[in-house]
Each structure stands twice: as structure tokens, then as C-alpha cells.
Symmetry: C2
Subunit: 669 residues, 2 copies
């Protein structure tokens, strides 16, 4: 516990408390202001305790020491968590980090073989990126488990049982307010420069995004960029259709066929380039960790049949009952309500049209657009309200795993948003059969929702954040303490930032956009162009959001965009059906078959089935992983099997040496 | 090498050669008659050599010693292979055999933990079934690899390279004629008694079939039985439709909807019961072995990027060229030819009809059925010819892996057989629109093909086999040697039996049957009943074939019916389309919509899409594995992750003990 004074200290505020020569703060833990001293001490002792004593063996210190706290009049309990270089390397092995070896293969990092990894030197601190270090610290904190404790010291109501994650219990009982990783301002500035601040045409620095924000977020930006570029051909081909009002039968069919095949191909090719990226990042071959129950999960203590541990259990049939007797009816009710709102919209539309026809002034001409805009806003509001309800319901269904929770939430939200956004378009297309209105509605909905999203998602929070930041700066400057307050300022600023809730909303936005572009593409060929324009600015506004508006999120390894791949593929199947139907209904095509409508319908249905079959054959024929990745994965598998075989061989050789001639095995325990 | 005389010897013929107290012959190797003495000696030395010297460490002896050979005037080179109990247990570990532990979990067998497995005693020879022992011996023989040898001694043209499987080279260069496992007559008799010889209603003894013939064959019989029972409801509901000629619109729709939903459900439920079975057998959790190149694969020696070994390589683009420039056009040509034959059939049909109408005697009435029967026979012949061509072409495509070869073969054969069998029915249904002719053709095709199959597949070979068996018996009885010749007789008999070529043809038959039943079910509701009847006898005739007609096949572990699941599911999707179209075309339904045909078509298409969507939702919603299997698999995974974590923890604790306070890691080589 001797204080060490070092000239290269990174933390200057509480130098007297530091007993490690180099302490890089990685993660901040904020405790409630009224937390008991006893609890603080216990938490600290558990975090710094040796691994063999069941601790996390991390470095842990308060942001301000007692004296500083009094001087500043600050009552917040803020703690910094760091780790030694060796501890981080061992943690990297525990989380199963995969890195490139000097021979070019991707392997799970182990401390024993550390020297065979590219970029590793014993005196090198850069081997792990800061995001990786933070992920490791988070993993270690979450895996800090109760041993004999039956409750959190000082809080008899916060029950523990052996094996329960301490941090999760602290979070659910409100003792720990939040845990978040710190930004690295120097790296962030570099990233921003390469990413969005300079206005020039270039690809995003996906690899840098990945090393700063982790794989999940990098994959989202990778997908956003890929998707934008993939839409460009559709936008370019669509432009002349809009400009020259090409409405011939054959041109229509060519455009629709191109769109449908194209959307299949781009989704398949994405899978391949995604595998390419995640192989390079190591997450494609990373072993899945065993999933712990999600924080909100509760139940009666019992023995889990999988882990054999005593932990809360919740019977599956009860969950099924909640899903089918409450959630499902609720979702159906919401869908009905959404359709009801839609009918009101159409009444409004009729009313506006009649007003315009009665007194055709310029003002009433503008009035024609008002119902659409109002409806688009109402749709956005309903989506957001429903989203809250869906989150509440899915949490109430009490899923054990985060992944199950996510899947149920995604399903609920997707079904509603799909209907809510597209029902009016389907109604216009297939009930009213008014193609002109369809194009107009589609344009209004698409553009309005994009504008609303850009504002609500990035610009508004950015403005609020800016204001808050000024306030903190002024407060810090007003301090009379003569010290390097940069870290103090940083923590104070970042802890008040909003929390980034994951890529869900961003993917959802893209999903709906894909729907607008593909479902009715042959009626409004300009949709793709609008989507491309929006996405170019979306990249910047999302980047701004990640870098400036929200707290830095913990990096999360992922090997693909997961359930969204399926969602986009489903959308592209539905779009085959809608586009074929639209073409079949168009007056140009109907003019070709003047006498026999039945024949027309049969031909359209046949074409639709052929296109669907083609889609499935294409999806089946294009391998999900590029050949060179397949070879590398096969090589990894071969090596692990070979190693196993070697082990068997050695064992066999040893055992057989002792074998008596008669072939009977030796007995005896 | 001292001769041991034992009273409990199982092999009595060549007792003087035996130097093991207990030698159970498991596998027979037949060498060519003119094989060189040098080669025989080398093969023997490699097979009996110790594992650490690169041998297989198996027991190996000739069926007849020199003296016996001279006495009997027998020039055949027949050898018996066996293994000691310990050797088999170590082999079981090497092949990754999974067995039930005493605590009820399924685990990979290891010799070290052998006492924790249910049914294991040190003095127990029954722990491994004979089929498992034979599989292990086969695995060890196939994994006997060349070391320094550049060729097979005595055959300079039979090149070897380090790592090449010796047995495969011996087989491809014709030095080894065949390798086959021996029957166990006592066990076979018991199995037959429980299986098919007694005529009573009972389930098949699937577990006994599995322990005698292995998982792949047991799964086929399991599927056959399941499929037969699953067809019974369709058969029962179909009967009144046929008997009372129910042809109302609504009854039609009810029947078709039931069939379509039912076929989805049975395929999903099969997946679950299949997982149930294979979990019990251990193959569901068995680790996949690394796949070696198939015997027929050839290429230029190079370094395989996956294994890093020097072995023949064949560039992928050449294979693609062969597939797309030769195989694909050939298949298309065959499809065209098949359609051409179909048109000839329709000409014949017309001719027969015209003859009957001109001179309507009883004889010409029979003549009406002749074209159908001839066509059914021609279809069977074309299927068999095409099958040979497909096998040749797929082998010529030179696939590296047996699985890739199988997939390409299955695809080729399925596409052709589907078109060949069903094209005429599609033509009748959708071009001629003659529902009566459709029902008649379907019945003729279904029944003819079933009768032909039963005869060609089982009864004819059984009769030939019986004749051959009598000949061998007479020959053995004529021998003047006074000895227990049962083993000699058995080997002589079994080596002449046909080789069972796998479950491909059996599944194909079921697949086509499923097509006849489901594609046009609403036109000929009796099809299911015929299929059920056929399958009840099919079980017996297939069982007879396995037990009496063919050589015992090597058991093969498998976890599911593989690509056939996909084939059956595809068929059930196609049947939704055909059934909806048939209903839409039926005069009863058309009578409901007398004025607007277009409306009818639209409704039919809507119903079809709804049914297809329902299918996909059902397939998605029904979990592929029953809950208790999911829990058990999760438990296994949890345990292996837990073990890994323990290992990391230990390592971390050790490394951190040495950590200096400063957090810097120690350097050094």
C-alpha cells in the first residue's frame, strides 16, 4: 500500500491513492449516493481479490479521494476500474478472443502461446485495443460471483445465492447505478476525422470503428454502407423510369425482375462479405460463451437441469401461457387499432380531396398533402408507443436468456411496424387500386419518416448533449482547485450522456426503408434514390450519434447481423409477391390481355412462382461463405481434430504397451 | 507364436495358427487370387504392427492355413480380422463413440473414464455391440496410412504417398477385392424373430436393428414405419371420399387442407422423434470426424491448403466446368428425352382409346390399361438407366468428399426421377385437364411401380441367393475333411452375397411414393391407402433383403436422414401448389363461381399463399428437437464450457501468482 510517485502517471487527480505504477482507467462504476460504507468496502474487496480467492483481480479506485470530494462538495460515488497488462491478457484468453497468428491463421488467444500472435511483444500495451480491454473488464466484473454470501452486505433484501453474478444483483437492486466504459478522446478524434467530419467520398473506416466500438456496431455500419451501395443500381435504373414516365408493359417487367433478383443477390452477397469481415476480426471462429440468465429474469429458486446449480427457475408453460394468452391478443389488438387509424386516414384523405374539388385554390392544393404527413407522424408515434409496450410485455414474459428476449421483442416489433407502415400502402394498392395515390403516399411516408428519424435520432440529442456539455465545462472551470481536472471532467460529462440501446432501432429503420424500396418498387421507382440519399446522411448522423451523443457502448463480439438477415430475406420474398401483383394490375399490362383476364392472372401467378423458385435456388446455390474462408475454417477444424487424434494415439500407445497378450484388459480400481 | 489349445476357441478351423486365446473374427478381407506373397506379408505386418509403429494393432489371420488350402483345393485369399477387447475400447474412443453414463447423460467414451459408463464391466465383452466392433475395425483399417512407402510392395504402379490410406489404395488397384463384416447368426436369428418372421401387429425392434445394422439403416426403418403410420389418417379420411364419391366443393377443400397441413406437421414431428432416437443412440452428440477424400478421387499431387499434407488436388474450377458444361446439359437432354417418351405414351393412349371405341369388346377394354402399364415399366427402366449414367457422371466430376459426391448424385437423380414419374400426371392434370384419366394414371403408375420394386428389390435377389446358398452347402458337405466347417461355410456364403449400396434407393422409393400420395391427393384419395398397404409389406421385404439377401453392411453412425428431410419438405411445398391448382380447376368449385373465373383464380392463389405461409410459420414455430433433448444438449455444452473455464482459472491463478506488483509482465523467451 506504499504510495508510489511516478512521472508518467496517467491519473493525476488521486495520485496519493494510486499504488500501481500504471493505472489506465477503463470502466466507470457509479454507485448510488446513499450507498453504505460497508457495501462499498465489500465490493472493493471482491473486485481486487485474487482470482484464486474468487475475486476479479482488477484494479479499483475512487475517482476522487475523500479530501477532494469534500473540496468539490461532490456526493457522487464514482469509481474507476482498470487492470494490469497481464490480467488483461489472461482475461482475453477467458473470453475466448481470437487473433491473427504470425502464420496468418486466426486462433483463440492463450497466454501460453502469446508470442505466436501477430503484434504481440512483451513490452507492448497495444496488443489489445481499448475496446477489447473494456470488454474483458466487463466480462470479469459480470463473472464475479457470490460464494458464501446470502445477501449483499448492508442490504438484507438484496438476496444472493452461490454462483449469482454480484454485479447483476447490484444493478437490479439499484446499488450500482451504471457501469460504462470511458471514451479515449485522442483515438475518438482520429476516428472522427477518418469517418465523418471531412466531407469527401470514401468508404467508412470499418476496421477502426470495430476497434473503437466493437464488432456489433461495426457490422451495422458495414451493413448500412453495403446496403447503400447495393441500392445505387436500383436508384440509377429507377431514375429514367421516373423522368421519362416509362410505363410500357415490357419495361415495367424488366425493372421489377431486375429488382427482385437484385435484392436476393445482394442479401446473399452480404452474407459472404460479412463472413469475410468477421473472419478477419476473429468473431466468426470465436466460441460462443454460455449464456447466463438476463438481469431481469426472476423465478423460484430451484436446481437448473442444465447447469445443475441452484438458481431461479420459471416454468416454460407459464411463459407460453403469458405469450399466447396475453401477448398475442395484445399484439392483435394493436394491429386492429393500427388498421382503424388507417381507415381514419383514408376518411381524412377523402375529405381533403372533396374540399379541394369544391374550392380549388392553391391552399387546398397543399391541403391534399396534409393527411399523409399527419398519418406519417402518427405512424411514427404509434411505432414508438408500441415499442415501449412490446418491451414491457416481453420483459413480463420473463425469458431466461437475453437472446430469447431479443428474438421475441424483434418479432413483436417487426410484425407491428410492418403492418403499421405498409398497411395503408397495401390498402391503396390492392383495394383502392389507385396507383397514382400509391406513389404519392409512398413518397410522403418514406420522406417524412426519414426526416423525423434523422431529427429525433441524432440532431436533437446532439443539441441537448451540447448544452449539457457547456454546463459541465462551466462548472468545472468554476472550481477553484488547482489540478489537471480532465479525467474528472470527462467522467462527469460522460456519465450524463444517454445510453446507446443497441443497434435494434437502426436496423429497424433500414428494414422499413428496404420495405418502402422493394415492396412497391415498380410503382415508385424513385424510392431507391431517396433511400440512397438518406443513407449517405444517415452514415454521418449515426456516426455523430455514436461519437458525440451517447456514452461509449461496451463492445460486443458478433459474427453476423443475426435475425435481421432473416427479416430482410422475408421482406424480399414478400416483395416478389407484391410486385408481381402490381404488374398484373397495371393498366398497361391489362391492355395486352384485353379479353382474357383469367389468362393474365394465371401468367402472373406462374411468373411469381418461377421468381420465388429462382430466389430459393439462388439462395441455395450461392455459398454463405467465400471459398477462402471455407478453406481456412476447414483448416482450423482439421487442426483441432488432428490434435485430438494425436492425444488418442498417445494414450492408445501407452495403454497398449501394458496389454497382456491374451487381449483381456487388466482389472482393478 | 506358441500354439495355444483352448477349449473355448471360437475359431476351430485354423487353431494351429491362433496365438490369441480369444479371437472373434469380425471382418473379412478378400485379396485377389494372384496377389504376390510379398504384398500379403507387408499387409499383414502393417495390420498387426503396434500403433506406435504406425500399425493398426489388430489381429489378422488367414481363414485357411496352407495345409487346409491344399486339401480343399481353394485358391482364394481370405483373411479374418479381429481385435482384442482393449484395442476395441481404445478404438471406440478414437471414433468418438458416445454412450450413456451411469448418471444418465450421454458422453463420448474414453478409456480412462470407462467405468463411469452404463453396462461397462472389466470382464464384460458385451459393452460394444458387434456392429460397433466392426465399425471400429473398419475405421482402424481405413486409417492405416502409408509412411515411407512410395508404392505397394510388389506393385510398382500402385503409388502411395505419406498419409494415403493403404486400404483405399489396395481397393482401387484391385489387390483387395472386398472388405466386409461377418454376420452373427445367433443374433440375426433373434433379430429376425422380433422383426418380420412372425406375422403380428407390432412396432419394429428399432433399437435391435440399430445394434445389429447401425444407425443409418435403423433410421431408414424408423422413418419407413413412422411414415406409414403418418399416412394412415390420410388413408382413412381418403377412403369415404373414394367409396361415396364425395365431390362437393367444401369436402374437397377440407380434405386438401388437411393433407397439406398434415404433411407439414408429420415432417416436423419426424425431425423431433429422429432427434429423440439419435440422442438415445449417441449419434446426435457424436463429433463429426474429418472427412478423407473419397476412394475414387484423383488429381495432381500438391499441398492441400486445409490439411497441409501432400495429396492429390483437383482444381475447383475444372469441376465446376464439368458440372455446368457436361452434367447440366446431359441432365437437360435426359429430361427432354423423358418428356418425348411421355408424348409417345399419350399417342399410344389415344390409339388404344380409338381402337376400343371402334370395336368395343372386352379385350379392347383391357387394352385401355396397357399403355399405362407399359409406360410405368418404361419409367422404371429409364430411372434405372439414368441412375447408372448419373453415377458415372458424378464420379467423373471428381468430387473430393463422399458427401459432396452424394449430394450431387442425389440432386441429379431426384430431379430426373421427379420429372420422369410425375410429368405425365402434370400433363394430364394441367394440359389435358382430364381428372378421370389423372386418377386412373396415378393408380396405374403407383401400383405398377410398387409391384416392380418389391419384386426387383427383394424377392428376385432372395431367390437367387437361396439357389446360391444351396450350391455352397452341397459343396461344403461334399468335402471329405472332418472338421467344424461352419465358419468356412459362412465366409464362403457371405462373400458371394450382393453388396447393399446404402439407403439411397429405399429413400427414393419412399420419396416418389410421397409424391404420388401428396401431389394429387385430392383427385385420387385412395393413393394413401395403397401406400400404407405397400409399406406394411415393404417393411418385411426390406427386412428380408437386409438379413438374407445382402452382405452385412458396415454400420454407419448418422444423426438424421440428412438431405432426404429437405427433399420431402420440398415435395410438400410443391404439393401445396398442385393441390390448390387442382381444386381451382375442379368443375365443382368452378360451379360456385359461374360468372367470374378471375375471382376464383385470385381466391385460389390467395389460399395457396396463405397455406405456404402457414407451412413456413409451422416449420419455424415447431422446435426441431424436443425440450428434454434441448436441455440435455445444453447441459453437455455447459459442462464442456465449464471445464474449459476451470482450466483457464487454474492457469490464470498460476500466472497471476508470479505477477510483479507493477502490472508489467515478465519478459524472456
Amino acid at each position: 500500500m506504499e504510495p508510489v510517485s511516478s512521472s508518467s502517471m496517467k491519473v493525476t487527480l488521486s495520485a496519493v491513492d494510486t499504488y500501481e505504477t500504471s493505472f489506465t482507467p477503463l470502466v466507470v462504476i457509479e454507485l448510488a449516493q446513499d450507498v453504505k460504507e460497508e457495501t462499498k468496502e465489500w465490493l472493493k474487496s471482491r473486485i481486487v481479490a485474487k482470482k484464486k480467492d474468487g475475486g476479479a483481480q482488477l484494479l479499483f479506485r475512487p475517482l476522487l479521494n475523500k479530501q477532494e470530494k469534500e473540496t468539490l462538495g461532490n456526493k457522487e460515488n464514482l469509481y474507476l476500474v482498470g487492470a494490469s497488462g497481464l490480467r488483461l491478457l489472461l482475461g482475453a484468453e477467458a473470453v475466448g478472443l481470437v487473433r491473427e497468428c504470425t502464420d496468418g491463421t486466426m486462433r483463440a488467444f492463450t497466454y501460453d502461446t502469446r508470442r505466436s500472435f501477430r503484434g504481440f511483444h512483451d513490452d507492448n500495451d497495444d496488443f489489445l485495443t481499448m475496446a477489447e480491454c473494456q470488454f474483458i473488464v466487463k466480462h470479469e466484473l459480470e463473472n464475479l460471483r457470490a460464494r458464501e454470501e446470502r445477501m449483499i452486505p448492508g442490504y438484507p433484501h438484496a438476496k444472493l445465492y452461490p454462483g449469482k453474478s454480484i454485479l447483476r444483483r447490484l444493478l437490479t437492486s439499484g446499488i450500482v447505478l451504471q457501469v460504462f466504459p470511458l471514451h479515449d478522446h485522442e483515438a475518438l478524434r482520429k476516428l472522427e476525422d477518418a469517418w465523418y467530419t471531412r466531407f469527401s467520398l470514401h468508404y467508412q473506416p470499418i476496421d477502426s470503428i470495430r476497434s473503437y466500438f466493437g464488432e456489433t456496431i461495426a457490422l451495422y455500419f458495414g451493413f448500412l454502407e453495403y446496403f447503400t451501395f447495393a441500392l445505387i443500381p436500383m436508384a440509377i435504373i429507377g431514375l429514367p423510369y421516373y423522368l421519362f414516365v416509362w410505363e410500357d408493359y415490357d419495361k415495367y417487367v424488366v425493372f421489377a425482375s431486375f429488382n427482385l433478383t437484385w435484392s436476393t443477390v445482394i442479401l446473399e452477397v452480404w452474407k459472404r462479405s460479412c463472413a469475410d469481415m468477421t473472419y478477419r476480426w476473429g468473431t466468426l471462429v470465436m466460441k460462443r460463451q454460455f449464456e447466463e440468465p438476463r438481469p431481469g429474469f426472476h423465478g423460484v429458486l430451484g436446481v437448473n437441469p442444465v447447469t445443475g446449480r441452484e438458481e431461479p427457475l420459471y416454468p416454460s408453460y407459464k411463459r407460453q401461457l403469458r405469450i399466447y394468452l396475453v401477448s398475442l391478443p395484445f399484439v392483435c389488438l394493436c394491429l386492429y387499432f393500427s388498421l382503424y387509424i388507417m381507415m381514419i386516414y383514408f376518411d381524412l384523405e377523402d375529405w381533403a380531396l372533396s374540399v379541394h374539388q369544391e374550392s380549388g385554390t392553391e391552399w387546398t392544393g397543399v391541403l391534399l398533402y396534409v393527411p399523409s404527413v399527419i398519418y406519417a407522424i402518427v405512424i411514427e408515434i404509434m411505432n414508438r408507443l408500441y415499442r415501449c409496450a412490446a418491451e414491457f410485455l416481453t420483459a413480463w414474459e420473463n425469458h431466461r436468456l437475453e437472446s430469447a428476449y431479443q428474438n421475441h421483442l424483434v418479432l413483436k416489433v417487426l410484425v407491428f411496424n410492418f403492418l403499421n407502415c405498409f398497411a395503408s400502402l397495401f390498402y391503396i394498392a390492392f383495394v383502392l387500386k389507385d396507383m397514382k395515390l400509391l406513389g404519392q403516399s409512398l413518397a410522403t411516408l418514406l420522406i417524412t419518416s426519414q426526416v423525423i428519424n434523422q431529427i429525433l435520432e441524432s440532431l436533437l440529442p446532439y443539441w441537448l448533449q451540447k448544452k449539457h456539455s457547456m454546463k459541465v465545462k462551466r462548472k468545472v472551470q468554476a472550481l477553484k482547485v488547482d489540478m489537471d481536472a480532465s479525467l474528472y471532467k470527462q467522467v462527469l460529462l460522460e456519465k450524463e450522456m444517454g445510453t446507446y440501446l443497441g443497434t435494434f432501432d437502426d436496423y429497424l429503420e433500414l428494414f422499413l426503408q428496404f420495405g418502402y424500396v422493394s415492396l412497391f418498387s415498380c410503382v415508385y421507382p424513385l424510392a431507391a434514390a431517396f433511400a440512397v440519399l438518406n443513407n449517405f446522411t444517415e452514415v454521418s448522423s449515426d456516426a455523430l450519434k455514436m461519437c458525440r451523443v451517447f456514452k461509449r457502448p461496451f463492445s460486443e463480439p458478433s459474427a453476423s447481423i443475426g435475425v435481421w438477415q432473416l427479416a430482410f430475406e422475408t421482406m424480399s420474398v414478400i416483395s416478389v409477391v407484391t410486385n408481381c401483383a402490381l404488374i398484373g394490375m397495371s393498366p398497361q399490362v391489362n391492355a395486352v390481355f384485353p379479353e382474357s383476364k383469367t389468362e393474365l392472372v394465371l401468367i402472373v401467378v406462374a411468373v411469381e412462382h418461377a421468381l420465388l423458385a429462382l430466389k430459393f435456388i439462388l439462395a441455395f446455390a450461392i455459398p454463405d461463405k467465400p471459398r477462402h474462408i471455407q478453406v481456412k475454417l476447414a483448416r482450423l477444424e482439421f487442426e483441432s481434430l488432428e490434435a485430438l487424434k494425436q492425444q488418442h494415439m498417445k494414450l492408445a500407445a501407452e495403454s497398449l504397451k501394458e496389454e497382456p497378450r491374451g487381449g483381456k484388459t487388466e482389472t482393478g480400481a
